[in-house]
Every structure is written in structure tokens, then in C-alpha cells.
């Protein structure tokens, strides 16, 4: 995402890249321990110190009071019990449910589906005009800029001041509004999700456009000659052929949502009240503003647990090596 592209999911792994390809990539016959150690040492040290050690530390800290971020008093599952009984984290007693985790669910449902939907539509429709590359470049621009800039742009567009905010100015012309897009707890999440969608559609368009174009033109042409209409071609031919890129894209977008932070932090700081908080924001706030390190660590573990199925998905996909 402007909303950052997740450097997390290999978009699609070329068939050659699987482990079977490793075996054909011959090194010298004997294992070269010294070479391996020298080439891997810098990466290994950094990964151990900055990833593995902190991950274990954070996991352990989530079972500890964690005063000042160091181990003080073991509390078992206390942090988790507090987390899941905290109505600001997740609250099922209201309808619809609320809380930070629920907001992530809203993001996953609306952001992911709409980004894929719009991305696919734009990819397919733009392929039929001459200025395709221009449209794709325009939609893609938000991917280049930071979530911070994205947040400023949209705070500007959403401004309730009709001399500043374009949307409220337009509504004002029809005698409507102004609407406090970011100030109303019932609207704020959808206003933010719209910004997220605006930031990510270009990514989806480019990926799905490549997938759509991998379908041989003659195949589609011959279907047309046989009398298939555009709707049939889309639903019966294009959609099935892009279902795999769509699933990979969907997973990427879900990861984006689980890690979502910058946009919320800048646009609303979780507000109004706590209405737009998401889990990564809760983590930051609990650990660094409230000094609740054990509790913050428990939130990180929740994030990790949500990501583990996706890690397994990645490793599986990679082991089988082939994605075509």
C-alpha cells in the first residue's frame, strides 16, 4: 500500500524456482562448508539477532508482566485473557461486533474483495483501449508514494471544510453534508478502507493484467468466433484462468491488512475515540504509549498467529515448486 506492497508474498513463483530446480543447479561435488559459511554469515547473524531472537523474546514476554519491557513477573495467559476480554480489542456483545480486531476483519472483507474486483475490471477493460498503459500508470502511482503521503492527500480530500475537502464541496453543491468522514465512528472505518483501496488497486491491476494477458489471444478469439459473448468469455474463460493469481493477490492483501499501521496512525490515530484502531496500532499504543509491554507482546503474538497459516501456505507452495 502506498499502502505498502508487502515484501512478503512471492507473487508467483516461476516453475523453475522450486526446490527441484536447486538440485539441477550443481555446485562442486563436495560440500563447501567454508564458502557457505562466509557467504551466509552476515545474513545469518542479522536474522538471528533481529528476527529469531526478538521473536522468541516477544513470545516469552507475552506470558510476563514485562515491566519496562524486561522480564519481571510471570503471569501465564493473563495478558491474553485481558486482551480478549478487552472490548476495545474485540467485542462480540454488540451488533455488529466492534474493537480493533474486528476492524481488521472489516478491512479484510471489504478492502481485499474490492481491490481484487476493481483490479480485475480495470485490467480487463483497459486491455481493450489504446491508452491502456496510461490508465494503468495513473492507477499505479499511489503504490509509489508512502502511506504517510497517502494519508495527507486523503485527509485533505475528506476535510469537512468545504473550501478544502473536495468531497464535502461536491456534496455542498447539492445542499448535503458536510460529512465528518473521519470524525464519525460509524463511517471512519469505511472512509479509511476506501483510502486503502485507492492505494492498492494499481497493484492488483498490474498483477491481474499480466495474468489476463498470459491467456493466449487465439483462445479468446476462437471463442468469440464460435459466438461466445463478452460476459461468457469473462466468466467462463478469463476468471478461471486468473483464479490462482487472484488467490495469491488475496493473500498478499490480507497480509497488508494484518500489518496495517501507518495509514491509521496518521489519518485518525485510531479515533474518533478508539473507533478505527487496528491490531498493529494497539500493539504500538500499548507497548510504547501505555508502557504495557507484556500486553503489547501478546498483540504481536496474535499478529504472528494470524500470519502463520500464510507462512505455511508460502512454504508449501514453494516446496511443490510449481505455480503455473
Amino acid at each position: 500500500m502506498g499502502i505498502a506492497p508487502t515484501p512478503g508474498i512471492p507473487q508467483a513463483i516461476p516453475a523453475r524456482a522450486g526446490l527441484s530446480a536447486v538440485r539441477s543447479a550443481r555446485g562442486p561435488e563436495k560440500p563447501n562448508y567454508l564458502g557457505a559459511i562466509l557467504f551466509l554469515l552476515p545474513a545469518a547473524v542479522l536474522l538471528l539477532v533481529f528476527l529469531l531472537y526478538p521473536a522468541i523474546y516477544t513470545l516469552l514476554l507475552s506470558f510476563n508482566r514485562g515491566r519496562n519491557g524486561v522480564f519481571s513477573e510471570w503471569v501465564g495467559l493473563d495478558n491474553y485473557a485481558r486482551l480478549f476480554s478487552d472490548p476495545d480489542f474485540i467485542n462480540f456483545t454488540t451488533f455488529p461486533p466492534s474493537g480493533a480486531l474486528w476492524n481488521n476483519v472489516l478491512w479484510i472483507v471489504f478492502y481485499t474483495s474490492i481491490v481484487i474486483f476493481l483490479g480485475l475490471i480495470i485490467a480487463v477493460v483497459a486491455a481493450r483501449v489504446r491508452y491502456e498503459s496510461i490508465i494503468k500508470a495513473i492507477v499505479f502511482i499511489p503504490m509509489a508514494i508512502s502511506a504517510t503521503a497517502l494519508a495527507v492527500i486523503w485527509k485533505f480530500v475528506y476535510s469537512p471544510d468545504a473550501n478544502i475537502g473536495l468531497i464535502n464541496a461536491i456534496l455542498g453543491n447539492f445542499g448535503l453534508g458536510p460529512v465528518a468522514w473521519l470524525g464519525d465512528e460509524h463511517i471512519v472505518n469505511f472512509a479509511l478502507i476506501a483510502v486503502g483501496i485507492w492505494g492498492s488497486v494499481g497493484f492488483a491491476t498490474v498483477i491481474l493484467s499480466a495474468a489476463v494477458k498470459s491467456i493466449p489471444a487465439e483462445v479468446i478469439e476462437s471463442a468469440r468466433v464460435e459466438g461466445a459473448n463478452e460476459r461468457q468469455i469473462f466468466f467462463r474463460m478469463i476468471l478461471p484462468m486468473v483464479s490462482l493469481p487472484i488467490s495469491v493477490l488475496g493473500v498478499t492483501l490480507v497480509v497488508n491488512v494484518i500489518k496495517l499501521f501507518d495509514l491509521i496512525y496518521i489519518m485518525t490515530a485510531g479515533g474518533p475515540g478508539k473507533a478505527s484502531r487496528v491490531i498493529a496500532f494497539v500493539m504500538y499504543q500499548q507497548a510504547f504509549q501505555a508502557g504495557q509491554y507484556g500486553y503489547g507482546a501478546a498483540v504481536v503474538v496474535v499478529m504472528l498467529v494470524l500470519l502463520i497459516p500464510i507462512m505455511v501456505f508460502n512454504v508449501r507452495r514453494f516446496r511443490t515448486g510449481a505455480v503455473t
Binding site: F50, P54, Y57, V139, A144, V206, P245, F261, M283, L304
Partner: protein, 298 residues
Amino acid sequence: MSVLAEPMAGSRPRTPAGRVVATLNRSVIHVALGLIGLIWLVPTLGLLVTSFRPRSDIQATGWWDIFQLHLTLDNYRQVLEAQGMLQAFVNTVFIAVPSTILPLAICALAAYAFSWVRFPFRDTLFLIVVAFLLVPVQVAFIPLLTTSRDLVPDLQLTRGYVAVWLAHTAFALPFGIFLLRNFFITLPPDMIEAARIDGASDFRVFSTIVVPVSVPAIAAYGIFQFLWVWNDLLMALVFVQDSSKFPMTRAIQNLLSQYGTEWHLLAAGAFLLMIVPLIVFFSLQRYFVQGLLAGSIK
């Protein structure tokens, strides 16, 4: 975008009625695409125009009021000098350059080992790297802050840039190694075997053969990583504690919290943050998109 192949050939309807329908369909397409273009351009353009308008104009009329168009560079002057954005720009460069070069070098070395050096458990170790791809940066926050505070207080890592450089580098590794290794294994084995038979060491093979022929892949990854760091807020929020060293993303966040309605400053600040990514995007679009699609669909 040049990487995105040419449009599909459409078939020509044969009857006159069919042609009318086709023309209508086409105008619907043009209108829809035009609308999409507007929705994706106008917000950014509006902020751009605002960044050149005097403060009094901004408060009096909307940016779309073209009769009130007096342009000025004062906003940029003010935000660069009085609001310290110039220093923040320099700080962002100081953070982004090492945080790009370090991972590039380290990832290339490791990727070479994973593709062309034989050693036990190579595949298993590589799968672990693949699993690391998704570990969120948040896992590092508490341990690294407290450990650096308690174990090596004299270093004061978060006072300078060291903490943020190393954190960015470490979290860039899984993706970089993955990407470069997938490129390196596509190099022809004969080329590497031949060099080895001539007695070249692994480091020589790496530096004189593998790296030179992999420049496009390395460049794509470098651009991706540079923009990633340039645009980052969260790492800087946690690992840069000295306010004189804040990057632009944090400076803008400060501007927002202090002058949330001073749009002449915010607009100019946001464009200073965006200018480098936009230049990179428009000048190196092909590499940029490739880096983003990363090991993408052929």
C-alpha cells in the same frame, strides 16, 4: 507501462447493428476509464495545486476555483526552512541509502550460497528464509529497544541511525534473498562451471560473473528496497529517538499534529516526501514494477 503487453485484438462485428452496439459499448468503456483516471488523479493533483497556493487563498476558496489561481513557492520555502523539512529530507537520505546498500550486498552473498554453493541442509535453510518472509517488524520492537537499552546503554543505538539501519536491513533480508536466489538459479550452470574449472574461487565467480549478469534483478530489488525505506514511518517511529534525526515521514506526522489545518504547509511537506518516489517511478518504471511484482508471472 512498457512491461505490460499490447492490447488484445478485438473482433469486428459484421452487421451495421452490431457496429452501433459495439460503438456504444466502446463509449461506455471510455467514460468508465476516464472516470477511473479522474478518481486516481484528482486527489493528488488537488494537493499539488494547493501546495503552490498562498495561505490566504487556501482558506478563502477551494483549489478547484481556477479564478483564484496565484502561485507561489512560499509554502515550500517555509516548510523547508522554518519547519525543518530540509533537515528531514537529508535525514531520510541518510536512513535510506545505507538501508538499501547493506541489504543488497548481504542478500546477494546469501543468495549466491543458496543457489551455487553446495552445503548440507541448504534446502531446509532456504525454506526457513521463505517462512521468515512474513514475520512482522513488530516482533523486533520491544526486544531490540530493551536489549540495546539494558545491555549496551553506552552505544545508544536509537540516538543515531545504527538501530534503524540494522532493523531495516534485517527485515529486508528474507525477501531480498528469496528474490535474488530465484534469479541466480536461472543463470546457465555451464557459465559457472567453466569459471570454476579455470580455477576461480567462489568469491571470484560471485563478483565477476554472477553479480555483473544479474544487474537488472539487483537493480529492481534495490529500487524496491530504497522506496520501501524512503516511505517508512513505523521503523523510524520506534528506532529513531533523536528529534534532530527524524526522517520526512515523521516530520510530516509532527506537522499534522501541530498544524493539522495549515494545508499550505502540509501540502508542500507531503510533496517533498513524494517527489523522490515519483521521480523514481516515472524514470525507472520498468524496474520498479518488476521489483514490485518480484519473481512474477512470466
